[in-house]
Subunit: 233 residues, 2 copies
């Protein structure tokens, strides 16, 4: 029996209308649907696709602990083993990814464990960065400009060094790292003009100047768009 195919489906930044025709088609055709979720919590990736998942599809929920730092390799090993069992049985598996499957996120480590053995197809998705620029109504980059994507999870020295070297930057995964990011931007003279976007494309999307944000309210899915001299709005 032929083994199944692994699909990494990019579902975009949150608005179900930002799912692509291809991701929707492959999602509907898959007998097995897998997705990451926080332990005991709601899967963001599944919520984007919820409208299209039907009871005849088997669901595999892969739980990740809510702790700082990268998840232990054992979680990816166990997830890959569960998916491999389905693939060995000849079932295609659609792995649901918020944003794009290969731009951060939990799919790449699973793909790395399975790709040598099983056929795989990646369906790229709309990244949260594109949704942030759309929400802010400003071009992220134009002409021959460069842009650097920087996780706020870096330590303060490295965050400072990366932001100092960047022309335009998108700082992602802010959450509890907001105070650190605020200090670094202030030290670099980049605070004024920095645009803050939270939950881009979702119903509770928020866009504001970063300098006006209350640190206590910042979720993980918040991004800062930073540019010397500010953005054209």
């Amino acid at each position: 029996m032929a083994c199944g195919r692994l699909y990494g489906l990019g579902l975009g930044p949150g608005d179900p209308e930002l799912v692509t025709l291809k991701a929707l088609s492959r999602l509907r055709a898959a007998p097995v649907v897998a997705y990451p979720a926080p332990v005991g919590g709601k899967s963001f990736a599944r919520s984007i696709a919820a409208h299209w998942i039907v009871p005849s599809q088997r669901e595999i929920r892969i739980e990740f602990p809510m702790q700082p730092g990268p998840p232990p390799a054992a979680i990816y090993d166990a997830a890959a083993a569960r998916l491999a069992a389905e693939l060995d049985a000849g079932h295609d598996v659609a792995f649901l990814c918020q944003g794009d499957p290969l731009f951060y996120g939990s799919f790449a480590p699973i793909l790395a464990r399975l790709a040598p053995r099983y056929p795989a197809t990646i369906v790229p998705g709309v990244s949260s960065l594109a949704a942030c620029a759309a929400a802010a109504g400003t071009a992220l980059v134009q002409r021959d400009e460069t842009v650097t994507v920087i996780p706020a999870t870096l330590d303060e020295g490295e965050l400072h060094r990366r932001l100092a070297a960047a022309e335009t930057a998108a700082v992602i995964k802010i959450g509890r790292h907001f105070a650190k990011l605020h200090r670094v931007l202030a030290a670099l003279g980049l605070l004024d003009g920095a645009v803050y976007v939270e939950r881009a494309s979702q119903g509770d999307q928020r866009v504001a100047m970063l300098a006006e944000i209350d640190p206590a309210t910042v979720p993980y899915f918040a991004t800062a768009l930073v540019r010397r001299g500010g953005f054209a709005r």
Copy 2:
């Protein structure tokens, strides 16, 4: 009479299946469809949407000269005036963009001219970078890594400086800048491991190691994924 609304529709990297549900819905509803095209040549953005454009939609073709460097401001001024006439007449206008509307490309300068006067909605799209990573089957970035997007159109010194400072880089718009990029990568010891992706997601997509590429064959829509130590494949 109320004026029309301007839509910037991101149509993704080329595969029509990578159009989002939202872009398709807004495209179908628009009485006027505008798109960039090279003088005398085929519009890439229009080709992605061609299947869905109907004769009752009026088309506005905005021609850009095929010359190095940024197009003259007068072209954007004239394009904005043509779209403004439609918007003043109460017609919604869908501006078609390959990739994402605010990630390089010709929409941002037009938006900047029209947004102060007309309501505008940006529909983000799948970027060519996501399609390149999917084509190469490798994560662009993971965990707390940073990635810098660098146009190959920069002069050699600046290209060297930006690549030297980057952790992972995506070098876009390669075309006739291939030889320069090759020299810079070689000088930085980054040539081995650099992945080359051409026309990602399109029928004639090509993925290869950059070191094996014949410079004479490189189109504008070619990208290099560059990473110290190479990519996991």
